[in-house]
Structures are given as C-alpha cells and as structure tokens.
C-alpha cells in the first residue's frame, strides 16, 4: 500500500533520520536567515534608491537594474536548484530532494515573474517597447512556463511518489533552457545588453553601481534560501499529515 514498503530497512531508517535532522537544523537557521536577508535588502534598497548615481546614458532608470538583475539571477538559480535536487531525487532517492525541488519551484517562478515584469518596465523607456520576441526575453518566458508546468504536474498527479518522479523528469529536461538563457545574448542578435558582472574578463559595471546590485543580489539570495527552508518544512509537515491520516484510516478499518 504505502510507497515506503518497497524500500529497504536502512533506507527507511535514513528517511526517518534526515527529515528529523532537517527540521531541527532548519529551525535553528531560520531566525538568523531572516535577519541577514532583510538586512541585505534594507541596506541594498538604501544604496539602490539614495546612495548611488544615475547612469550617464540611462538616467534614473538604471535603478530598475537593482531589482531586475537579481530577480533574473534568482530565476535561473531557482531552476538550477530545482534541476539538481531532481537529479539527486532520481539517482539517490534522497527523501528531502523531491521536497527541495518542489519547494524551490514557486520561489523561482515568483522571481522569474518579477524579472519579466521589471524587464518590461525597463524596456519601455529604454527600447520603446514593453516586450520584444528576442532570444533572451523569449527563453526567460519559457523558463516561467517551465516553472508553471512543473508545479501543475505536482498537483495533477495524486500519488506523491509518482508526481515527484514525473516532475523531476520535467525539471531535468527543462534544464537545457538554463544555459540557453545564459548565452542567449551572445549567440543571437538581441536588444538585451550582454553580461556586465559575470564575465570572463571581469565586471565592466561601475563600482558604485556594483555595490547596490551585489547587496540586493545577496538579499534576494538569502531570502530565497529562507523561503526554501520554510516551504520544505511545510512539505515535511504535509507529508506527516498525510501519513497520520493514512494511519488513522488503517486503524479505523481494523475496528
């Protein structure tokens, strides 16, 4: 009946140990993580809005970058986390890997949405268009749909272990999109500007703009990790609720 009966005794033991240890460890990490996330974001916002100069070409619209670029990084980081966790789940059957992938998806989707919308709000004044169907924008839109498809798959399949496997396969197939997004600005002609921070020859962005960008990026990254832990904890509890209900039903059937 239960998905765990097919596992060996040692795997069952591991399944018990890891989530319990995870719950204890994450409970201790959460408060400092919230503080660090909000700290970076608070200082980052100050530099982004007040203590950094306007761009000599883009004027004040350069401040859009401090939200847009970290969101776009986190959009890809989130998918990478999801794909790696899915690979670990498929190969090693680690009990937390599926929960990690499932929990990363809505966070990644939210940052992808943020990257797309803030990109449109930057595109209009700088390019004269909210949207263009070029390689960078289109591949990020596909990333957004991959997230939505992944989440839909989890809800579409009733049985969690089967849902997890199908979703993991989708996440891995979709991972091909991540390097396409990264190199889209080099491989195709595009309106979107190329990388100016993570370059082989070092950053070309001005230092006074790199600082708010880095602060916001750290803030968003810590927030991502914080929310990932909160959601994974909720998933572990959801699993426990499901098991308690199954046990309740089994006990009732015995009466």
């Amino acid at each position: 009946m239960s998905p765990m009966t097919s596992l060996s005794a040692s795997q069952r033991l591991q399944a018990f140990a890891n989530p319990a240890r995870f719950m204890a460890l994450s409970a201790r990490l959460l408060a400092p993580l919230w503080v660090v996330s909000l700290g970076f974001l608070g200082v980052g916002l100050y530099y982004a809005l007040f203590a950094s100069p306007p761009d000599y070409q883009q004027g004040e619209t350069v401040r859009i970058m401090y939200v847009h670029v970290p969101s776009a990084w986190l959009a890809m980081f989130g998918y990478s986390v999801m794909a790696m966790a899915s690979a670990v789940a498929l190969i090693f059957r680690h009990p937390l890997a599926d929960l990690c992938a499932k929990s990363a998806a809505p966070i990644g989707a939210a940052f992808t949405f943020l990257a797309l919308v803030t990109g449109a709000l930057w595109g209009k004044p700088m390019w004269g268009a909210w949207w263009v169907w070029d390689a960078r924008l289109t591949s990020v839109l596909i990333l957004f749909f991959l997230y939505l498809g992944y989440m839909a798959l989890w809800t579409a399949i009733e049985e969690p272990t089967r849902a997890a496997r199908a979703a993991a396969v989708l996440a891995l197939v979709g991972a091909i999109n991540v390097p396409i997004i990264r190199y889209s600005v080099d491989w195709w002609n595009t309106l979107h500007q190329p990388a100016s921070v993570f370059r082989m020859d070092g950053p070309t962005i001005a230092p006074e703009m790199l600082l708010p960008l880095a602060l916001m990026a750290f803030g968003f990254t810590f927030l991502f990790v914080t929310l990932l832990l909160v959601r994974m904890r909720a998933e572990i509890l959801r699993h426990r609720v499901r098991m308690l209900r199954l046990a309740q039903a089994a006990a009732r059937a015995e009466d």
Binding site: S2, M4, T5, A15, N18, V67, A110, R231, L244, A251
Partner: protein
C-alpha cells in the same frame, strides 16, 4: 524630495519596479508562512486527536513512514 520621487521623469517606471520588488517576495513569504502554520496545526491536531492509537498503528511496518 520632489525631485527624488520624480526619478528624472521615469517615476512611472522606476516606482512600479520597486513596488513589485517588495510586493512579490512579501506575498510569497506570507503564503509560505501561512502554509507552514496550517500544516503544523493539522499535524498537531491529528496527533492529539488520534492519541496513542494512531501512533501505535503508524509504527507497524506496513504503515511506517519516515517523514
């Protein structure tokens, strides 16, 4: 001050970006925490309500679950 809010004529683009940059993560955080609390309440209620019986049942090999 007025100049700051004016954003060099780009207020209509810059401020919505910051509003969304705050609202989207905030909404996600609120939803994540609410879901966590809901699952915690459910799990505690089930454990309480069931008392010892479900716990005994849950420890039988057939229904033993790790998480």
């Amino acid at each position: 001050m007025v100049e700051f809010f004016h954003m060099g004529g780009y207020a209509a683009y810059v401020w919505p970006v910051y509003a969304l940059g705050l609202l989207v993560p905030l909404a996600l955080a609120v939803q994540s925490l609410a879901d966590y609390r809901r699952q915690l309440r459910l799990a505690e209620a089930l454990e309480r309500e069931a008392g010892g019986r479900v716990r005994r049942a849950a420890h039988k090999p057939d229904t033993e679950q790790g998480l």
